[in-house]
């Protein structure tokens, strides 16, 4: 059983559409990261959220950390083909924990 549940597992949309990916847990996290992974490459860190209710923006990507620090969402506005990839959320339970728990990922395909 994954500590972090991501939904949906797969998402296919047309270029220009919006999308939202969710990351949920019953545990409280001290911090949560979002990564994007392209086929055949390693995950690349997009953002870290730390404070409950925090919202961070990275160009067309908006990341939100839930008030209770148990969930997070990633919203992409006007998706482009370059947004295609596997999106992973990951979190640490304790601030001094070396390890991260990873979600299984959401595969996003943006069609031209």
């Amino acid at each position: 059983t994954q500590l972090l549940e991501q939904s949906p597992q797969f998402l296919s949309i047309q270029e220009g559409e919006n999308l939202t990916v969710y990351c949920n847990s019953s545990s409280v996290f001290s911090s949560l990261q979002w990564y994007r992974q392209e086929p055949g490459e390693g995950p690349v860190l997009l953002v870290t959220v730390v404070t409950g209710g925090e919202v961070k923006k990275l160009k067309r990507l908006t990341f939100q950390f839930g008030d209770a620090r148990k969930d997070s969402s990633l919203h992409i506005t006007a998706a482009q083909t370059g947004d295609t990839g596997l999106y992973l959320c990951a979190g640490g339970i304790r601030s001094n924990d070396y390890k991260l728990s990873f979600g299984a990922g959401t595969t996003v395909t943006v069609r031209a």
């Binding site: 055949g40 860190l45 640490g92 924990d97 390890k99 991260l100 299984a104």
Partner: protein, 114 residues
């Protein structure tokens, strides 16, 4: 920018061979990790190291060992490769944990054991 490099992008080995996967990071990070990634199973932690010569088992250490003789280098060893170790292997590093625990990944090694 944090740079994590892995010795090979693709490897093909035979069953029973000893396999070495090398990872080097250039950001003076204390912690280093080895994961494998398989479709439908996500990232699974094999081993990690929080200091030179220190190591701890992750979730799936069986069939693997590690070595960290220098701070910047973390090696994963498959003592006797088996076909079920065919996978994508990812190395990562992070600073000593504080309020955040950001891990930075290498490009991965796609290992095929035949």
């Amino acid at each position: 920018d944090v740079k994590v490099t892995q010795s090979s992008r693709y490897l093909v080995k035979r069953t029973g061979e000893k396999v070495f996967l090398e990872c080097v990071q250039d950001m003076d990070h204390e912690n280093m990790f080895w994961y494998r990634q398989d479709p439908g199973l996500g990232l699974r932690l094999i081993y990690f190291s929080y200091d030179v010569k220190m190591k701890e088992k992750g979730d799936i250490p069986e069939g693997y060992s590690v070595s960290r003789e220098k701070k910047e280098r973390f090696s994963l060893i498959l003592e006797s490769a088996s076909t079920n170790q065919t996978s994508m292997y990812l190395c990562a590093s992070s600073l000593h944990p504080g309020s955040v625990n950001e891990q930075y990944f290498g490009p991965g090694t796609r290992l095929t054991v035949t």
